[in-house]
């Protein structure tokens, strides 16, 4: 029998990290139970995978770790049945994994160009993977200037805070972390909404690719700014998240017109989205 694409492989939770003040965002770092599964697992930043708990179900999540990192990381918001069950699990628990699924960020196009990453809220996950991947010593020379604008509602809601503080020190990265309201906090340094901060930072659009991921309202107000800055629709890429059940283009749920987010996405150029109904 050919490999069953619906059958998850076992992974072990090695590390659980609470990421925010509201304690509804946790990072799960996973290792493969079987060596053959670890060897067979290859992904590119921007892809996603399903996590599975027998008896509860499964749900798709963007992969938050880079391929070079030893553990597979997923940062999950507690919001529904599955994520609530997952949040209750501790180190050592065995869960299921299937994937990786979907396309990825446009690595061929990004190579040799400036990269602008715009992200809001907890959707920073696959963009963190992307950033870590770009910053690998062997990969970094392949890209031009790298600008990251990452915002959250408040300082306590920012993901990966310690890591971001380290990254801020890097000379080969322009990292602007912002929050809607600082409320007297001494970090981060910037107050403001992501689209406004993007306008102020004004990364050059010439020879650049923009990667955008965030809540629908952030995306809506980010597009006009990217347009102002001179980014053409074919140089702006969005990572989408639609409800999905199978991940392999069969169950139907995640369609946007004739495209499935799971296999034709989750990354779409803005150009492509202009030819699709606004069903995301």
């Amino acid at each position: 029998m050919t490999a069953n694409p619906y059958r998850p492989i076992p992974v072990r939770i090695e590390q659980v990290t609470i990421e925010n003040e509201a304690r509804d965002l946790k990072s799960f770092e996973l290792s493969f139970v079987n060596e053959e599964h670890r060897k067979g697992w290859h992904f590119v930043p921007g892809q996603f995978a399903f996590l599975s708990i027998a008896g509860v179900g499964e749900a798709p999540f963007g992969i938050a770790s880079a391929p070079s990192e030893p553990l597979l990381r997923f940062t999950v918001k507690r919001i529904g049945t599955f994520t609530t069950a997952l949040h209750e699990l501790d180190r050592g628990s065995i869960i299921g994994l299937r994937g990786p699924y979907g396309n990825s960020y446009p690595w061929d196009l990004m190579t040799g160009r400036d990269v602008v990453i715009v992200s809001g809220g907890f959707s920073f996950t696959t963009l963190r993977a992307t950033l870590v991947h770009i910053l690998q010593p062997e990969n970094r020379p392949g890209f031009g200037d790298v600008t990251v604008i990452y915002g959250a509602r408040s300082p306590g809601e920012l993901l990966y805070k310690e890591e971001l503080k380290e990254l801020e020190k890097r000379p080969d990265l322009r990292l602007v972390i912002c929050v809607d309201r600082l409320n007297g906090a001494d970090w981060p340094k910037t107050e403001g909404l992501v689209p406004n901060v993007l306008r102020q930072v004004a990364p050059a659009a010439t020879n650049a690719v923009a990667l955008v991921c965030g809540p629908p309202v952030m995306i809506r107000f980010t597009h006009p700014v990217l347009k102002e800055l001179g980014f053409s629709p074919d140089r702006v890429f969005l990572s989408l998240e639609n409800r999905m059940k199978c991940g392999i283009g069969k169950c139907g749920h995640c369609n946007i017109g004739p495209k499935f987010v799971c296999k034709d996405g989750p990354v779409f150029s803005y150009q492509e989205l202009l030819t699709l109904p606004q069903e995301y």
């Binding site: 069953n4 749900a59 017109g257 202009l274 069903e279």
Partner: protein, 392 residues
């Protein structure tokens, strides 16, 4: 020789030179020397059924006691099979006869598990060989569509659905031409025919005094290989029946023009004038989803876990794009929050999306959605309005 002897043994009671292992073969197109149409009397037909019943699961239209309506049921003997009048679609109706369920069950176990043993999953036994008798040509065409959609063949970026494939590979479809289509039938408007063979292995035509059997695949040819070859007169009779049936379907749809018009509405900027058309068309629709459950090409499913007393299973269960929950994110955001956007998704899927996905329309003109809609929505009228109201 040994193998041959064994075959004889398992097919006990069969005549000399009989049908051998008629099931389980390849679905490849029939070779020219085996393609000759055959003729089956009712007695021959019954014998064929009874031989098959001994070897595999046989499904055929059976009059259900409670309703008197015909439904596909697993039969144990040819005496249960009701074929009289089956070619008269208007009298028999379409709603009870749904071969889709035998290839893509409404509930299907993906694997069994036990929560106390995480990581251990047991897939169900492979499905049994099955032969379906009395499949309508429109449903054959629908199975051919499902084959393409689930196979991933025409779309290399998606893997094959192994559960669908396992059933399909073990299924033989024996069609029955519709001699008298119903007034809801419009297969010819969407590329089909009341005597079409797409997706089928064998096509029967009810000639009143027997069945003409035309092999489509080797699998189908194997079923009737030892039956007498049909005469010229039989063929002419079939031809007349097919022509009359074809003429009874008068609906026409310019599907190419329709797709062009629909595709022009695929824009993300604002709602536009097309939105008003969809709103008006969908006004009677209550998003009950009956059209999608009965549609022979609708194939959406949910995946869900069940657990009881330490035993669990992961299942897939039919779902419908007409339901709010179908597209709603965990955050509460719903990309198709309005009833008319869900109505539009269904119509677009049939006449535009699947053409882009796998190169085929996914409406076969069976008319089930017309018969079953509680509010009288007629897809033919919907399409007519779209052709009139949307610019090309």
């Amino acid at each position: 020789m040994k193998a041959k002897g064994e075959r004889r043994k398992t097919a006990g009671g069969m005549r000399k030179g009989s049908r051998r292992s008629a099931v389980g073969g390849q679905r490849k197109a029939v070779s020219s020397e085996r393609s000759a149409p055959r003729i089956l009397t009712r007695a021959e037909f019954d014998r064929l059924i009874d031989e098959l019943v001994a070897k595999c699961a046989v499904y055929a239209p059976v009059a259900v006691e409670e309703t008197g309506k015909l439904e596909f049921r697993r039969i144990g003997s040819s005496s249960e099979v009701k074929l009289e009048g089956l070619a008269d679609v208007g009298v028999v109706g379409q709603l009870g006869l749904r071969p889709k369920e035998l290839l893509f069950p409404q509930c299907e176990v993906l694997f069994h598990f036990s929560p106390s043993e995480p990581g251990r999953m047991v897939e169900p036994e492979p499905p049994q060989e099955q032969v379906l008798f009395g499949v309508r040509p429109c449903d054959g065409a629908a199975v051919a569509f499902l084959d393409r959609f689930f196979s991933g063949r025409s779309d290399s970026s998606a893997p094959s659905d192994i559960y669908y494939r396992a059933r399909r590979e073990r299924t033989t479809l024996v069609g029955l031409a519709c001699n008298r289509p119903a007034d809801t039938c419009f297969c010819r408007a969407v590329g089909g025919s009341p005597s079409g063979t797409t997706g089928l292995d064998l096509l029967l035509t009810d000639l009143s005094d027997g069945f003409l059997a035309e092999p489509v695949t080797e699998k189908g040819a194997a079923l009737v290989a030892d039956m007498p070859v049909a005469s010229q007169a039989d063929m002419e009779k079939k031809q007349r029946l097919a022509e009359n049936a074809g003429q009874a379907i008068t609906t026409t749809i310019d599907t190419a023009s329709l797709k062009r018009r629909l595709d022009r509405t695929l824009v993300s900027e604002g709602s536009g004038p097309a939105d008003a058309v969809w709103q008006a068309l969908s006004l009677p629709c209550v998003n009950c989803g009956v059209c999608t459950f009965l549609c022979p090409t609708c194939r959406c499913f949910d995946v869900t876990d069940e657990e009881f007393r330490g035993r669990g299973r992961r299942m897939r269960v039919w779902d419908s794009c007409q339901f709010t929950l179908y597209s709603r994110h965990a955050s509460g955001h719903n990309p198709r929050a309005t009833p008319h956007s869900r109505f539009r998704n269904r119509v677009m899927d049939k006449f535009s999306y699947t053409v882009a996905m796998v190169g085929e329309l996914s409406c076969v003109g069976c008319g089930r959605c017309i018969s079953a809609c509680p509010n009288g929505i007629d897809i033919r009228e919907t399409v007519e309005t779209l052709l009139k109201m949307l610019p090309e």
